[in-house]
Symmetry: C2
């Protein structure tokens, strides 16, 4: 009954599949809690479709040397499809998922979700659309890092400003920072949000405060 209520809200296909399929998904669901920092998915097996009930998850890719790049985060009510490689055959790259805070999640087993999606085009479309919409997020991060070194350029700008003014709070709007950097406001805002999500800065009214100087300097040099 619990899962039934949750899924009714989250899955747009819920009303369109049979009672048997709904039962099947609920019977193959688990409510799991993860402590902050726990690795939930390491790209190898099919960890299932993960729905965040509370807390937040971080999705990232990792090199052999352990360097990682955050692709995006999942918050309450958001779904992770990339952890369900057995649902989406076309997804052949590995992502990692960690709990970034203590998190409670509903997890639908991958094979169960895959079986229902085979019988129901609406479920398949939902799974694919969820994956494709993240494709765009990932491309944005990649483009900024590959082309513009926007992460590096913003880190340098913030470090320089902090040194120049002698304060960890940079009292400039996103638009002003963009003009100083010769970039667009939307790009600066989105990259600042990325930094904030990473815990490197904190945004406040009319300013940006540096929280993690060490990481900022690592990015800058």
């Amino acid at each position: 009954m619990l899962f039934e209520n949750i899924y009714e809200e989250i899955f747009p296909f819920w009303g369109k599949i049979s009672d048997a399929d709904r039962d099947y998904i609920c019977q193959n669901s688990h409510l799991l809690t993860y402590s902050k920092g726990k690795n939930i998915h390491n790209g190898e097996e099919c960890s299932g479709v993960i729905l965040v009930r509370s807390g937040s998850l971080r999705l990232y890719i990792m090199s052999d040397e352990g360097k990682d790049i955050t692709l995006y985060r999942l918050h309450k009510g958001e779904l992770c499809m990339l952890s369900a490689s057995c649902v989406l055959d076309a997804v052949t790259f590995d992502v990692f998922v960690d709990a970034e805070e203590d998190s409670e999640c509903c997890v639908v087993s991958g094979p169960a979700f895959a079986a229902v999606s085979k019988r129901n085009p609406d479920v398949r479309i939902f799974a694919l659309e969820t994956a494709v919409s993240r494709f765009s997020d990932v491309m944005w991060v990649m483009q900024q890092i590959l082309f513009m070194s926007m992460d590096k350029r913003l880190a340098i700008f913030l470090s320089d400003e902090a040194a120049r003014t002698g304060s960890d709070t940079i009292k400039l709007t996103h638009g002003q920072i963009a003009r100083y950097m010769g970039s667009a406001r939307e790009v600066v805002s989105r990259m600042l949000k990325y930094f904030a999500d990473e815990g490197i800065v904190q945004m406040s009214r009319g300013g940006v405060t540096i929280l993690d100087k060490e990481r900022l300097h690592k990015l800058a040099f």
Copy 2:
């Protein structure tokens, strides 16, 4: 009649949609030829679903400064969905498509394809699966460049070997190159293929020949 025959082979959904929808797609199709080097799609408008009949297309992303990174190529019989942004709402990033050789393509107008896909889940699933399968290709390229600088490392290795042996042909197998570089054979093979597609090297039996020294050096330094 011409389009009918082509689409019957390419579109797995062709037998599952109505006569009217088949006609509608054919009536909104064009056979277009592009000369080598011609830009076909620049990320702005919806250029439609492009099917390569002969020649080849290159898909890439581009920075404001004009630097570009090849994501993948499309050959005879392959389909470009990312050029049809009006079909896939979830795709919000811009790609560019150029004809890499003189190419002949069938192009289905984006709005027509979108209208049919709205009425037919099979069409929608096909469009989404085509997009998601490219997501994996793109992630591979990104990971190699971001993490490993595999493009740079391979360029350095090939340049060094050519200088050391005094020959533009490096007589090593992919497996041998991988061992020298401390990498995996699959990774080296795939990156060599990427270099070959870019015209930087040519692969031959038991060796790799450098074709474009200037680009190789640019990558290496």
